[in-house]
Structures are given as structure tokens and as C-alpha cells.
């Protein structure tokens, strides 16, 4: 369920910007001089020609990658803990059974 919704939202977002008119802020940035002013945090607003040569990774893929990675890590960790827990529980029940057999 979660991966499905996740994939859907990412897909929607990848597809969406192409159909939308440019957001007001991008227009604003484009109209400014090529020397964009830094904001209070020291960031320069991004615009198209600031991308480096060979820079081709779309932001949506980076975002999707980041989310996917966190989901995968958490899922893997949960699975690993669960499998370790299962093994310990099995050993515990086996030991208990053996001890009961011995005691009787």
C-alpha cells in the first residue's frame, strides 16, 4: 500500500510541472539579472542556467531516491530485527520443550 501511494505521488509530481504554468517565483527569478542576490542563509536562488554542465538529475528523482532509501532502510531494519527475534523465540521454545521432556 505505502509503496504504491508513494510511487503514485512521485509520478504525479514528476508529471505535474510540465502541465503547469511556471510558478510565480521562477518567473521572478528569470526576470532578474544573472547575478542573483543571496538570501539570508547564503543561498543563491536556483535557475536553469545555473545548472552545471552535465547536470541532468532531476530534483524529483533525488527526492524520490531519498524517500525510497529511508523507507528501504527502515523496512530492512525492521525485517532484520523481526527475523532475529523469530530465531531467538524459536530457540527459546525448543529449549523449553527439551527441558520439559528431560524433567518429566
Amino acid at each position: 500500500m505505502t509503496p504504491f501511494i508513494f510511487a503514485l505521488t512521485v509520478l504525479l509530481d514528476v508529471a505535474a510541472p510540465r502541465n503547469l504554468p511556471p510558478a510565480p517565483d521562477t518567473v521572478q527569478v528569470a526576470q532578474k539579472d544573472s547575478i542573483a542576490p543571496k538570501d539570508s542563509e547564503g543561498f543563491v536562488p536556483v535557475n536553469g542556467d545555473m545548472l552545471q554542465q552535465g547536470e541532468s538529475i532531476p530534483a524529483s528523482r533525488l527526492v524520490a531516491g531519498a524517500y525510497g532509501f529511508i523507507f528501504a532502510m527502515v523496512a530492512l531494519y525492521a525485517a532484520s530485527v523481526a527475523s532475529r527475534a523469530k530465531r531467538v523465540e524459536e530457540e527459546l521454545t525448543a529449549l523449553k520443550a527439551r527441558l520439559e521432556k528431560r524433567a518429566s
Binding site: 524517500y67 523507507f71 527441558l99
Partner: protein, 229 residues
């Protein structure tokens, strides 16, 4: 296995629901003007970083309880915290560079928070290492390492920050646009609950391990294991 408490179940529910709806909320959140779409990584990146630090404190607290209070429960808390610190540390360090690729133009920069998180991660990887391969007394060794590591973080931070820095300041969180706050805190709630759920799972595992060891010892003492071990 022990029956799950209502608090744990609540956290589980919040975590599952949150994981399902958070991507939608985050995608629908307003676009940040300077950084654009890639800023959305931030909703999960910040939470991972917070939880990583949270886990470090949990681990250090558990270690202190184990070292000075001889509390076995403290050791279980510490190992769960140590593993989660590594887990969320990795998440932070992977999502951060993905954002940095767009914002700074390079995956890695020797920025203070990045470097501090990296070293913190290394200390806690060493923590897990020493628990695993430390031989007899490794629990105490690891507990000492956790205390040293927690004390080291401010110093690493200070030294690296004077060395160099370009990371956004923490004021980013308080200066969030109104539309971003909802998704941000929703993600926070999700991750906090996720933390509780994973922590609970790990603690339960450690508890059953302790029970198993106890049972083995008791059986051996009673001479019930001779012959078929």
C-alpha cells in the same frame, strides 16, 4: 511474547498511517522559492537527523545506567539506541548529499553538520563493532565508548564549525512557511512513532535473548543439558 501495550499500538498505527500519507503531504506542500523541489528532501532529512541524535542520547543514557547502576535493562536500552543511531545516521547522511547535489552542486562538502554526523555515525558503528567483536567485557567497553561519543559530539561540532561551514542554520525550522509546517510536523510525528516502534521491537528482541541466556544457565546449573548439548 508479551502483549503489546496501547501506547505501542498507537505509535505503530501513527507510524504506518504517517508513512502512507506523508509523501503526499510533502509533495503537496508549497514549493520553496530558492531551492525548488529538492527542498522536499528536508522534510525527512531533518527528522532522521533529530532521531539520530535522540538515539545517541538514549544510548548514552542506557550506557550510563548500565555502567554505574549495573542495570541490565540499561544495556538493552543502549544497544537498541546504538543500532537506531546508526540506522538514522545512515538515512541522514544519504538524504543530505542528495539534497546537496542540487543545492551546493556537490554531493559532499566538509560542512560542520555533515562532518559531525559522519563522525557520530562512525563512533556508533565502532560501538556496534566493539559489542560484536569486543570479546569478554565488550558490553562495558561499548558503554564507555557511548559515553565518550556523546561527550565528543559538541567538541567535534565546535572544532569543525571553526574549521569550516556552509550548512543552512537551524533557524530554517522556525522560519518555515505556514504551508510547510503541517507536513513538517506530520513527518515529525511519523518518525517519532517509527522510532518508538523500532525501539520497542529491538528491546523485545534483547529481552528474549536475556531470557534465553537465563534459561540456558538455569538448565546447565540443574545439569539438564548434559549429554545432548
Amino acid at each position: 511474547m508479551k502483549r503489546l501495550g496501547p501506547f505501542y499500538l498507537l505509535c505503530l498505527a501513527v507510524a504506518v498511517i504517517g508513512l502512507a500519507i506523508c509523501p503526499t503531504l510533502v509533495v503537496l506542500a508549497p514549493r520553496e522559492t530558492t531551492m525548488g523541489f529538492v527542498q522536499k528532501i528536508f522534510y525527512y532529512h531533518v527528522q532522521s537527523a533529530w532521531l539520530c541524535f535522540m538515539a545517541v542520547f538514549v544510548c548514552a543514557g542506557g550506557s550510563a545506567a548500565y555502567l554505574f547502576g549495573k542495570s541490565e535493562a540499561g544495556d538493552r536500552v543502549a544497544v537498541a539506541g546504538g543500532e537506531l543511531a546508526v540506522l538514522f545516521g545512515i538515512c541522514t547522511l544519504v538524504t543530505g548529499p542528495l539534497w546537496a547535489r542540487k543545492a551546493w552542486g556537490a554531493y559532499w562538502q566538509w560542512d560542520v553538520r555533515l562532518t559531525t554526523t559522519l563522525l557520530l555515525l562512525m563512533i556508533f558503528v565502532a560501538y556496534l563493532f566493539s559489542r560484536r567483536y569486543g570479546g569478554p567485557g565488550s558490553k562495558k567497553l561499548a558503554a564507555g565508548l557511548a559515553l565518550f561519543g556523546a561527550a565528543d559530539v559538541p567538541l567535534i561540532y565546535l572544532s569543525v564549525s571553526i574549521w569550516r561551514t556552509i550548512h543552512p542554520k537551524t533557524t530554517v525550522v522556525s522560519s518555515l512557511q505556514p504551508g510547510m509546517r503541517g507536513p513538517f510536523w506530520a513527518a515529525f510525528a511519523t518518525f517519532a512513532c517509527l522510532f518508538v516502534v523500532l525501539f520497542g521491537m529491538r528491546m523485545a528482541l534483547e529481552r528474549s535473548r536475556a531470557k534465553l541466556d537465563e534459561l540456558y544457565l538455569a538448565a546447565e546449573d540443574a545439569g539438564l543439558l548434559d549429554g545432548d548439548a
